[in-house]
Symmetry: D2
Subunit: 306 residues, 4 copies
């Protein structure tokens, strides 16, 4: 068993929500995983987040999730913090995953609200309090209303920030209003981590005081997002705008192909396959692109990487 | 290992979505489970459905789900068909539950669409086709858009009905339009089971050709729902309206207390505790009623059972 | 000025939500309107409802709405009650329309909740109370959550039924649960009218005690819906199921062509044009079918009218 | 009739969405309106936007809207551009309002998508194209999905920007992702105005290239928002963060009192009454604060204005 180092507080920078490289529904692409980890660490990322939405966590068996946790922690070997998603409709299963994460040497766990039943803010406080009481790694809240049908209200996040085990929040709502409310309500809790999911708004949030981004594009182009983050921290607006243009090009050319509600993820996995980083297979219920969309991604990638 | 009998087609009548009696988040109330099973079978129900939404399936650990499957099948011992919910965000875990169900002697499995990612109708067809290919018990579709964020369109149900392993659908959308579209599109497939979830509309659906109800109230008052079903089958409208009044009284007095989005389930479990059938504990993220609401349920129950 | 007769309470039967025949965005198809009125009255309908959703009310100028009210009342000439939609985001404009309706001799007005701002149930009570205080015709509530983003809760309808000017509700939610709750909560107010919008569930609601249907299909085939209503009132289930099959055929073949969210209305207007009853033009922001869908409707109509 | 000057392109800065001062549902608070106009112009705002959501436009009669347009244009007398909301479910009525606006000397009109029927992106293009063809003032798109149930997709905005009469967009979605996509897709159309509604994210959007804010708080504290806008334009991040703190204090203390879905507007109007700028009455279906909430606003205001 690994000894867990204290997790930095606040966590800062670019922490990619890692895709899960798969050969099929129940088999990891282990070589792809190794390449992906090296690729993003080489690109200068500040941590890894596995088993999030981008990692198709909820589609994977628990066996595969445990395998992924162990392999990722071993391969990363302490070079950067590893955050492990434990979101589940059943708290007992979340806790079981957290034990695996701790034993493997992970640095923190990340949990979205339970996503079958829709509960209110009071139940959310109870839920996260019990979860934080029972997991033995620092816990990061994960706001993801599009999938969970519930928003973690800023007041709820403030209440939960009083728990010593709850160290931050990752917001994937996409709302600029919500994010600025979070920043404001936490303004006297500077060690509380506030990260944004969607890369299109990462620079803006960092300029306003956010701690960084959990941006899917960093799977492909880690350095671009790290550079943008650094430019925002340095308040170099000219550079921010120049790099932002590149980030928006990725958004437009890779995440906007096809017609499905999860075309972001299809484009990302297709691009990673074209870049020969890892297999593009997607676990059910999702499915990867067909030939036509794959060709578009291939063509679009050329323009971006030029 | 039990030998599985062929499941009746179509399934007909009242098949209660069984609550899961719990002592705490991870412990079954085994005695309560035994009492509940005897209670509903004594009331004349035509089958049991465990691990649905009313059974808080998604809140329970897999260990507890397996235990519940085995105990229920053993206790029921073939007196009525047992349907087992295998809804999960991960198909691999659904299949693991289906194996447990088959080995325990269950008669069919029931699966809602995956509920974290929202997929389209084409992906739904692929998902259910693969699931039906891989499970070794008859499969019933479970339409539950409030929780899964997706509707199984009538056309999708029709396509899936062509799979020999898919034998029916349980609709909990609450939509009278949807249900009548289902009845119409399946009118030449009389062996395909069409059951309705919400008891408030059960009688109307049976009058129009539906096969029965998966009605939560049958946990408490199985005979009432069986009688209403029989009256609808017999087209005895006077009796239907008389019993419907009683069913609506349950809906108004038991499911409409308090303010939460899941007051239906809170009321049902509280009533079952007052009726001394089983423990009223609810698994996280849900929570049972406080004293105040419990007192109201107790008082309201008196009026109903008079 | 016409003298207004007392409106029957409850209103019963089939009251078509009349399409608004148009030559262009701001010109009534007056001849089509005349033909349509005669067509549905010949078919035996129990009343007319103009300026509802099916009448594209909110897309029309106030001038055109006033013209339509006056022409319809004059042409109907007291043969059946005329209900006039006055739904508006501004109460002052609703009241102005109600004055026109009264002066023209209409029998009742119908109002959905205000549809730009989403208000709560308390504000709804205040809103409808003031509206009923100020209009001089009986007022019917119009539940249409898909367009107004708000549900008129059964408890709210019960409260409002205490106002002497509020005589009923038309429910277009499509929910079988909601409708049965309405029937139950109003069970001691037998003079309060409860009508259902979607024709697919009309027969079921009448069997359970509803007063009738405001069904779009009655623009095309008034006799079919009147016959189905009568069969349900007579509790002739065999006949109900036979006619229901026809109604569902209309739903499937006329309302399910194309891909838009308002294909119901496109199909209905296209069919009325093919039947040479009135022009199929639709006011902005909606648009009528193109040639391809029109051809499908034409072909499908043949099968239905055979 | 006033002569209309060419509208600046792009429009820049703080353009308050003016509340509509009312004495009752159908009477303007004319003195309040005068004071409000002088107050915001004194505060340095770059334009006025009347008859938006904050102006309760859709709740007002057309007569009152016309009166407001004429009074506002006369009082402003060309000191800053006046933008007039013409959003309506009926295009004919939108055009009638635009004629009034032009005759009164307004500089541009602003239109949200029609808000009863939900249409698709193609119909939106047709709708706005015809609207722009027919109004004789520059037209600004108004993205307000919470009220209209429809998002103006960035691709749709790009298409519409090709129409010579369409000069910009005001986005009130609150989405940071959406806004950055807008900025990116319009990056080669620098004269196209892109304004943000929610003040909580105004500074961030201006830093990233947005043209300014249509911020409700500027009714109360115009100088604060103008200063924040100027700081963002000057890229003075320290000053931005200092003023942003004040803006968030307004958001927290004025817009977050009570429980209604429109507490933002209730707080704003209550505060304007306490500041003795104009009457706090709200038109039906909305209602102003009760005594309790009014007292909280009064107390909270003291802290802010200190």
């Amino acid at each position: 068993m690994k000894k867990n180092k204290p997790c930095p507080q606040p966590l800062k920078g670019i922490i990619p929500p890692m895709v899960t490289p798969l050969l099929d529904n129940s088999t990891l692409d282990r070589k792809g995983l190794d390449r992906l980890i090296e690729h993003v660490i080489d690109g200068g990322v500040h941590g890894l987040f596995i088993l999030g939405t981008t990692g198709e966590s909820t589609s994977l068996s628990y066996g595969l999730r445990r395998e992924l946790i162990e392999l990722t922690c071993a391969k990363t070997d302490g070079r950067v913090p590893v955050l492990v998603g434990i979101s589940d409709s059943s708290m007992e299963e979340s806790i079981a995953l957290a034990i695996t994460a701790k034993d493997a040497g992970a640095d923190a766990v990340v949990a979205a609200p339970p996503f079958y039943f829709s509960v209110g803010q009071e139940e959310l406080v109870d839920y996260y309090t019990e979860l934080a009481d029972r997991v033995q790694l620092p816990l990061i809240l994960y706001n993801m209303p599009a999938h969970t049908k519930i928003n973690i209200e800023p007041e709820t996040a403030l209440k939960l920030s009083g728990h010593p085990g709850i160290i931050g929040i990752k917001d994937s709502s996409g709302s600029g209003v919500y994010f600025n409310k979070l920043l404001n309500i936490m303004k006297n809790h500077k060690s509380f981590t506030i990260l944004v999911g969607p890369e299109e708004m990462m620079a803006a949030t960092v300029l306003m005081g956010g701690n960084g981004g959990v941006n899917g594009g960093a799977n492909m182009f880690p350095k671009l997002y790290v550079d943008l983050y650094n430019a925002a921290v340095a308040r170099d607006i000219d550079l921010v705008l120049k790099l932002q243009e590149k980030v928006m090009e990725v958004s437009e050319k890779i995440y906007n192909v096809g017609k499905s509600d999860y075309k972001y993820l299809q484009g990302l996995k297709a691009a990673l396959a074209h870049l020969e980083i890892c297999n593009g297979f997607m676990a059910l219920p999702l499915s990867g692109f067909g030939q036509n969309e794959n060709d578009i991604i291939k063509e679009n990638l050329k323009n971006i990487t030029d």
